[in-house]
């Protein structure tokens, strides 16, 4: 006994059945319509930035390699070894050992300075919390991100390395770009 759906039957509206030309358009023409998007992109040209010949310009506040600052006028280091950056660091990659300034050996203005200041770049996540935490703006993050090296121990940056002037090899985004 066949099932009689009764009033539940819905008549399906089908579009007009095209003839041969409509079918051809469907198969061939629609494909070309899709290809229009693809070919438009081809006409645009490649967007690949050819690194290392071309480099992506970075924003001014890009967080790259750290730099320990000095005072411009006196040349004294700004860092006093307070270790707040080490406390703030979520990756626990900063090691600070403080020492006392003596009149003969005055490294920073004030009572104390950092005798050991190391950042383990293999652990650093470049979040910038150290920069935020520093009360003296002694540690800032520059623009250099090209830090690859061959050995892990070379990637533990010491104070001397961080104090040094960084290599300016990262282009900065210009206004309006």
């Amino acid at each position: 006994m066949t099932y009689d759906p009764g009033p539940d039957v819905i008549a399906v509206q089908r579009g007009p059945e095209p003839g041969g030309a409509g079918g051809a358009y469907r198969i061939f023409g629609e494909t070309l319509r899709g290809l229009k998007t693809t070919l438009a992109r081809v006409a645009e040209g490649p967007v690949t930035i050819e690194y290392p010949e071309e480099k992506t310009p970075v924003y001014p506040r890009f967080r790259g390699r750290h730099k320990l600052q000095r005072f411009e006028d006196t040349g004294l280091e700004k860092c006093v070894g307070c270790s707040l950056c080490a406390a703030a660091c979520p990756a626990d990659c900063i090691r600070v050992v403080a020492a006392e300034n003596t009149p003969e050996h005055q490294v920073s203005a004030g009572e104390r300075y950092a005798s050991v200041y190391e950042i383990n770049m293999t652990r650093c996540i470049f979040c910038g919390y150290c920069e935020v935490a520093c009360p003296f703006d002694a540690i800032t993050m520059g623009h250099d991100f090209e830090l690859s090296d061959y050995t892990r121990s070379d990637l533990i940056f010491t104070k001397e390395m961080l104090l040094a002037e960084p290599l300016e090899r990262t282009p900065l985004r210009r206004e309006g770009e």
Binding site: V80, S83, A86, E111
Partner: protein, 857 residues
């Protein structure tokens, strides 16, 4: 006063009902309800509150003005509000006011990260300060002393340090100068704040005004970890917390409050003595004498040489156990000697023989007081000991009992004591005549027969003895702090007998809260005794089959009965009487094995094998406090250099000598074996000891101590006093490795000095500061003459344990009379101890170099 009963009252705080002990201040009472009230000047350890900083203001229903919670005791039915707007605005106001003159030093301040001011300002402060005017300035930072730096700008004038100096340490040096916002803390005359307890103000200071000089800038709280253990530098065995960086360096030590042991304080020796752990000249490699000099060698070589030497000596081996050895180490050593080598010549006491019966009586639980009993005692009797030098933290405890609880102090010593000023009765007897003095006190208590004769033999005026006895006789509870030196010397047993007879006359066992507390001459003396490091007693104070030689008899027997010596963290040339005999003995001995952390004179010249000893920060084990409390040492840092645990080395030696494999594999195993061997420790586990310790007398196993009775018979008649200047010795707090190897304490290294009365000095034509020679016949010791009014005529005191001119050159266990002559054309010069780091030259003319003295009364 007797120990108060705890009664609880119930009061309402912030809408919740809380029960707290009656008489507690509201700040402490609130803690029972998990409510925190911020404080600065309130410190319960300092006694009565001041109410000066106004930080703890709270609202109490029924009182119109806000009240300081620190000075308001809780009462039944009190209603307290700590979280209303009024209270909050007062708290904000006080924080704002405190920050007005407080400098913005947090990044460079040592207290940063562990600063109560930071925490309170964050939790109860207004968030920002509106003060934009210039703050007041002081010269900073200054050294208040070589160990404490003061930064007056940071001071919030909470008075804690001043109250501490005036009322706890009672050295009356720190005061507040000027007034209002020019106030600052200092010493009256600007001199350094020097005293044996000066470091506690670092812990008390709620800001970074008082900081530790050796810890300056070393680490931040987030760089370090804290490890709790027990300090073994003196018999007080204070509980300390060591701050450790990178798991291998101890940066500082501070107190880990245990009211039953140290009451929350730490002496400077314990606080700054940690520097010896990392001293550059510490022995950290095993050494062997090769061609006349000691050379570092691998462990296998050192162990095999030691085994060979001990095997050859066999039963002719003698051992000295120093006070820093743990119970396990002492137990393993005496087992090595007794069971493996067949020798019973092991002694942990420097002098005198302790009878087995006496040892068991002294260990009786009913004759033994707890340290906290001192707080509530009616009378505290100090016998032949100087607490501030020998067990420093007990000195503070006695002062607290006298000041706050009205305890009466009776001092019976040969040398004037810093507690004389607090004492109600003082008996000053001649050096070496403690036996007679004890007998005299006993006689005075039991009717006075023979008192005059005994007092004469003691060299003490009879009226003083009578006065002391009447105080003691009328006391409800008595705690007796007796110095181990009572039991030293040839008449040691008679001294102990006199002490026990005195206890019988005082009916100590019948009085509550009364008993004896020994002040031993080395840290773990009690523990080592109880695990069997005595020639006549084995573990558990059980008599051994054969008796060995006591330390005093060992030098004479070297070459005959004894051919090898084992020194377990012991240096007989420093601590044992008759130095020359020991020096000769070490020379004569065919084989000397030393476990040590620094090369002392004897070891350097005579030891054949040197094993590096771990410091207390590297040890795992247990030690026993003089009042019977078993405490646990926990390893805080990794073993330095090639140091191996001593229990391990001893186990290896024993196994190698028996040609068996090593069975003892861990420190808890050693503890278990030790506990199993001592009947009255039975069942103690490391977990039970925990961080606070447990007194074995309070446990059920205590009943397995063999019963012993207080001696009943008549005492022997003490000897008559010799004519001439009688020699007494001082065990200074500062002799030993702490002043020689901890750079920050080097300025306290004692130089030998002879303390005389003014009469004797006049008679001998000596002035203070003269260089003199003290001695008899051919033996002389050089010293600087020092006059003290309080020294009775006829006595002279020399310091024991100094590096050069040690008084032990003149002592031999019997009372000694000496002559003093001035050395013409000699000028007292400063000590210049060659130290690993700094060469700290101490000035000999300052009286602080030497034992800690109270300011002249």
């Amino acid at each position: 006063m007797s120990r108060p009963e705890e009664k609880f009252v119930s009061f309402d705080i912030d809408g919740r009902e809380v029960r707290a002990p009656e008489g507690a201040m509201l700040v402490d009472g609130a803690k029972y309800g998990d409510v925190e009230i911020p404080v600065f000047c309130y410190e319960p350890k300092l006694g009565p509150p001041v109410g000066a900083c106004r930080m703890c203001l709270v609202e109490i229903e029924g009182i119109p003005k806000l009240q300081t919670a620190c000075s308001t005791p809780v009462k039944d039915g009190m209603v307290v509000i700590t979280k209303s707007d009024r209270v909050q605005s007062a708290q904000n106001a006080v924080v704002e006011f405190l920050l007005v003159n407080h400098p913005l030093d947090c990044p460079v301040c040592d207290a940063g990260g562990e600063c109560p001011l930071q925490d309170v300002a964050y939790g109860w402060g207004p968030g920002r300060s509106r003060f934009i005017e210039p703050k007041r300035h002081f010269k900073k930072p200054l050294e208040l002393s070589p160990t404490v730096a003061i930064d007056r700008e940071r001071c919030i004038l909470c008075y804690r340090c001043v109250r501490y100096s005036q009322e706890i340490a009672e050295d009356h040096q720190l005061v507040l100068l000027e007034r209002a916002d020019h106030s600052f803390v200092g010493t009256h005359d600007g001199a350094p704040y020097v005293g044996p307890f000066s470091g506690n103000i670092i812990d008390l200071c709620p800001v970074g005004a008082l900081t530790s000089v050796p810890y300056r800038f070393r680490a931040r709280p987030w760089d370090v970890e804290e490890a709790g253990t027990v300090c073994t530098l003196c018999p007080s065995q204070c509980n300390v917390t060591l701050t450790v960086r990178d798991d291998n360096k101890v940066l500082r030590a501070f107190n880990r409050q245990n009211d039953e042991v140290d009451d929350g304080w730490l002496c400077d020796k314990g606080r700054f003595g940690y520097q010896t752990i990392h001293a550059a000249d510490r022995v950290v490699h095993p050494m062997v004498r090769d061609g006349g000099t000691l050379r570092a060698v691998p462990w296998e070589r050192a162990l095999s040489e030691a085994v060979a030497g001990l095997r050859k000596a066999g039963a002719g081996t003698a051992a000295l156990v120093g006070g820093e050895a743990t119970n396990e180490e002492g137990f393993l050593l005496q087992r090595l000697l007794r069971e493996v080598l067949g020798s019973s010549h092991v002694d942990s006491r420097p002098s005198g023989r302790l009878e087995g019966e006496h040892a068991r009586v002294l260990a009786r639980p009913d004759l033994s007081a707890r340290v906290s009993d001192i707080d509530y005692a009616d009378v505290v009797l100090v016998l032949d000991a100087e607490p501030v030098d020998e067990a420093a933290i007990l000195d503070l405890r006695v002062r607290k009992a006298a000041r706050r609880n009205g305890a009466r102090v009776v001092v019976a010593t040969s040398r004037p004591s810093s507690l004389d000023a607090n004492a109600e009765a003082v008996v000053r007897f001649a050096p070496g005549a403690s036996e007679a003095a004890l007998a005299a006190l006993g006689a005075a208590l039991t009717g006075g027969a023979g008192l005059d004769d005994l007092a004469r033999r003691a060299g003490a005026p009879a009226e003083t003895v009578r006065a002391a006895a009447s105080l003691l006789g009328a006391a409800e509870s008595i705690v007796v702090l007796w110095g181990e030196r009572l039991s030293h010397g040839a008449r040691g047993p008679q001294g102990v007998a006199a002490l026990l007879a005195l206890m019988r006359s005082l009916d100590i066992t019948g009085k509550e809260g009364s008993g004896l507390i020994e002040i031993p001459s080395s840290t773990n003396a009690r523990g080592l005794r109880e695990v069997g490091c005595l020639p006549n007693l084995g573990p558990g104070l059980v008599p051994t089959a054969g008796e060995g030689l006591a330390a005093a008899d060992m030098p004479g027997a070297v070459g005959e009965d004894i051919s090898a010596l084992v020194l377990l963290q012991a240096d007989p040339l420093r601590t044992h009487p008759d130095r020359q005999a020991w020096a000769a003995a070490l020379d004569r001995a065919t084989f000397v094995v030393a476990f040590t952390d620094f090369l002392g004179e004897g070891v350097l010249e005579q030891a054949d094998v040197v094993f590096p000893a771990p410091s207390y920060a590297e040890k795992e084990g247990t030690i026993t406090h003089p009042d019977g409390r078993l405490q646990r040492l926990r390893q805080s840092i990794g073993l330095v250099g090639e140091v191996r645990p001593q229990w391990g080395v001893l186990a290896e030696l024993a196994a190698a000598l028996e040609d068996k494999p090593v069975e003892l594999l861990s420190s808890p195993m050693a503890t278990e074996q030790m506990v199993a061997a001592v009947p009255f420790y039975a069942g103690v586990t490391l977990a039970e000891i925990g961080g606070r310790g447990v007194r074995w007398q309070d446990r059920d196993a205590a009943s397995s101590l063999a019963a012993a009775e207080l001696p009943d018979g008549a005492l022997e008649s003490p000897p008559e006093l010799g004519d001439g200047l009688r020699l007494g010795t001082v065990l200074s707090l500062w002799t030993g490795k702490v002043t020689e190897h901890a750079p920050v304490l080097s300025f306290l290294a004692p130089q030998q000095r002879a303390e005389l009365s003014a009469d004797d000095a006049r008679r001998l034509d000596l002035s203070p500061g003269d260089v003199v020679e003290v001695g008899f016949d051919g033996t002389r010791v050089r010293a600087v003459a020092a006059l003290r009014d309080a020294v009775p005529p006829g006595s002279v005191f020399l310091v024991e344990g100094t590096r050069t001119d040690n008084a032990t050159a003149l002592t031999n266990g019997a009372p000694r009379t000496v002559e003093i002559t001035r050395v013409p054309d000699a000028v007292a010069k400063g000590t210049s101890l060659p130290l690993a780091a700094d060469a700290g030259a101490a000035d000999a003319s300052t009286s602080v170099a030497g034992s800690a003295e109270a300011p002249p009364a």
